[in-house]
Symmetry: C2
Subunit: 310 residues, 2 copies
C-alpha cells in the first residue's frame, strides 16, 4: 500500500496584474458552489460587468501583499506540503488549488501515476462550507468519476473541533494575552450568504463551535465572532468584521486581538483585508491597539495536525 496526501486550498492569481487576476477570478466566480445563481443570469453579469472592473481593483490589493517569492498563499501551500512530506517520508505529499495551478485533477493524476493506493484529501479549510470544501469534493469526485482506476479514498470534510487545532489557537491567544491585555478578542471568519446556511450548510455552526471551544480553553475574556469578505448583494452571515471594528471604539473597546481561524495560511483576506484595511477602520474610528494573530502558515503544530488527519 502506497499512501498519499493531497492538500487543497483555494488558489491565487499567478501575478498581481489585472490580466492574471481576471484569469483567476473567472474560474473562482464561475463555480456553482461559490455563486449559487442560475448560470443564465450569472454568467452575463460575471463576464459583462464583474470581470471588467474587479480584476484591476483586486490586482491593486494583491500588490499590497505580494512578496519577492510570490503569492503568500502559494508559498505557504508549498511549505506546508514540504513540512508534511518531511514528517511523513514514506507518503507522497502534494498540494493543489481549486482555481489555479497545480489543479486538483493534475495533482491526482500525478499521484495515481506515482502508484498511490491509499489517498487522503485534506481541504485547507477547518470549517466545512458548501462554497469551499464541497467545491473541492466536486472536483475530486468528478476526477474519479472519469477515471478507470482509483485508490482507497479518504476525504476530510472538516476539523473545526480537532483537539490539536483548538489547542493551537487557544495557545496562540493565551501567549498574546500573557504579553498584554485586550478589551476584546475578535474571531473573524470568511462570510457566506445566509441563504446557504438556511439551505443546510453547517458552516455557521462549525465556526461557532470553533470559537466556543477555543474560548473554553482561553477563559473568561470578552470576545466577538464576526464574518468578513462579503461579496455581492444579499444578506451574509453577521456581524460583519468591518462594521464591528468601526463600531467598537465608540463602545470603549480600544484594543483588539484579531484572529482568522478559518484560514490556515496568510492570503489576501488576512494580510490585506484584516491586517491593513480593518486595522485602518478600527484606528480611524478611535481604536488604539490592533494586534493581528497570523494563521498557522509554517507552524509545526499545523504540520502535526495535518499528519493526524492524514
Amino acid at each position: 500500500m502506497k499512501k498519499g496526501v493531497l492538500l487543497v486550498n483555494l488558489g491565487t492569481p499567478k501575478s498581481p496584474t489585472a490580466a492574471d487576476v481576471r484569469t483567476y477570478l473567472s474560474k473562482f466566480l464561475a463555480d456553482k458552489r461559490v455563486i449559487d445563481v442560475p448560470r443564465a443570469i450569472w454568467l452575463p453579469i460575471l463576464h459583462g460587468m464583474i470581470l471588467r472592473t474587479r480584476p484591476k481593483r483586486s490586482a491593486a490589493r494583491y500588490r499590497q501583499i505580494w512578496t519577492k517569492a510570490g503569492s503568500p498563499l502559494f508559498i505557504y501551500a508549498q511549505k506546508q506540503a514540504q513540512q508534511l512530506q518531511a514528517l511523513l517520508p514514506t507518503t507522497i505529499v502534494k498540494y493543489a488549488f481549486c482555481y489555479s495551478d497545480p489543479s486538483i485533477t493534475d495533482s491526482l493524476t500525478e499521484m495515481q501515476q506515482a502508484g498511490v493506493t491509499d489517498l487522503t484529501i485534506i481541504p485547507l479549510y477547518p470549517q466545512y462550507s458548501v462554497t469551499t470544501v464541497a467545491s473541492v469534493y466536486d472536483q475530486v469526485a468528478t476526477h474519479f468519476m472519469h477515471a478507470q482506476a482509483m485508490p482507497n479514498l479518504h476525504f476530510v470534510t472538516a476539523y473545526y473541533q480537532h483537539p490539536t487545532y483548538i489547542k493551537a489557537l487557544a495557545a496562540q491567544i493565551k501567549q498574546a494575552l500573557a504579553q498584554q491585555s485586550y478589551d476584546r478578542i475578535i474571531f473573524s471568519y470568511h462570510g457566506i450568504p445566509e441563504k446557504y446556511v438556511t439551505a443546510g450548510d453547517p458552516y455557521f455552526k462549525q465556526c461557532t463551535a470553533t470559537t466556543q471551544q477555543v474560548m473554553a480553553l482561553v477563559g473568561d475574556v470578552p470576545y466577538t465572532q464576526t464574518f468578513q469578505s462579503k461579496f455581492g448583494p444579499g444578506k451574509w452571515l453577521s456581524p460583519a468584521t468591518d462594521d464591528t471594528l468601526r463600531a467598537l471604539p465608540q463602545q470603549n473597546v480600544k484594543s483588539v486581538l484579531v484572529l482568522t481561524p478559518g484560514f490556515v495560511a496568510d492570503c489576501l483576506e488576512t494580510l490585506e483585508e484584516i491586517d491593513q484595511e480593518n486595522r485602518g477602520y478600527f484606528k480611524a474610528s478611535g481604536g488604539q491597539r490592533f494586534t493581528y494573530l497570523h494563521p498557522f502558515n509554517e507552524s509545526q503544530t499545523f504540520t502535526q495536525l495535518l499528519a493526524d488527519l492524514a
Copy 2:
C-alpha cells in the same frame, strides 16, 4: 464524532418474477459503467430487445436459488450488516444496493440524518472494477455533489490482498484439501470485457494477485483462474469458467474444487451458475467430483475483515 459504515452490493430483484427481474435489470443494464456503449445505440437494444426476452429466462434462474426468506444476496447483506453492527456497537452500520432498494442515496440520507460525521463505504467486491466499485463510487459522489453537508468520507476501493481475506480463502481451501484431494482448484471470478482492462481497469491484475497470494499459502496444488458470467458480444477475460469445466475431464482432470473469491455472498452467479449449471457441464463432460466452496456469507471472519476496513 459519530462513525458510520455503509456496505454496498450489486442488488437483487424483489421477487423471481419476470416483472421484478425486468425492473432490476433495467437499472443494472442501463448503468454506463456496466455497459460502455453510447446510450443512443444501447438504450434501444436494451429496451427493444434485451428487456423483452431476458427477464423471463432470468426469473426462471432466480427461482432456482430463491429461498423462503427471499433472495440470498439480500439475506446475506442484512446478516453481514447485523453482524458488523454487533461487532461495532457504537457505529451506525447500514447496507445498500446499486440497483435495488435500499438505494445508496436513501441509506446515505438516513446516515446523515442519524448524525454520522465519519463515514466509511465498503463496496462488497474485494477486487476493483470500473463495472462494480466505480459504479458505487459514482452514486456516492453524485449524492454528495448534491448535498449541502457531508461527513468525513472513506471510500474503500479494494481489498483483494488484505491479509484477513487471503488467509480466510486459503484456510477454506486447505480445510477442503485435508478431507480429500482434488485434481484441480478453480478460481472463478466474474468476467468483464477485455476492452475495459485495455482502458486501464486493474480488475484482471487484482484477481490474479488474489489467486496467487492465496495459492502461496495453500502450497503446490494445480489450479486454474477462470472468468464466468459473460454477457453480450465482444471478447471477455478468459479462459471462461464454463469452457474450462467442459474441457477439463478430457484432460484427465476428474475432480475439481471450485471457489468464487470475487463474491462475498451467494447469489445467482454462484448458486445457479456455478453450483448448478457449471457443475452440470463438468459432470456431463465426464467429470466425477465437483465441490463448490461457498463465499463468506455469514462467516465471522468476513465480519472481522469488514471491521478491519471500517
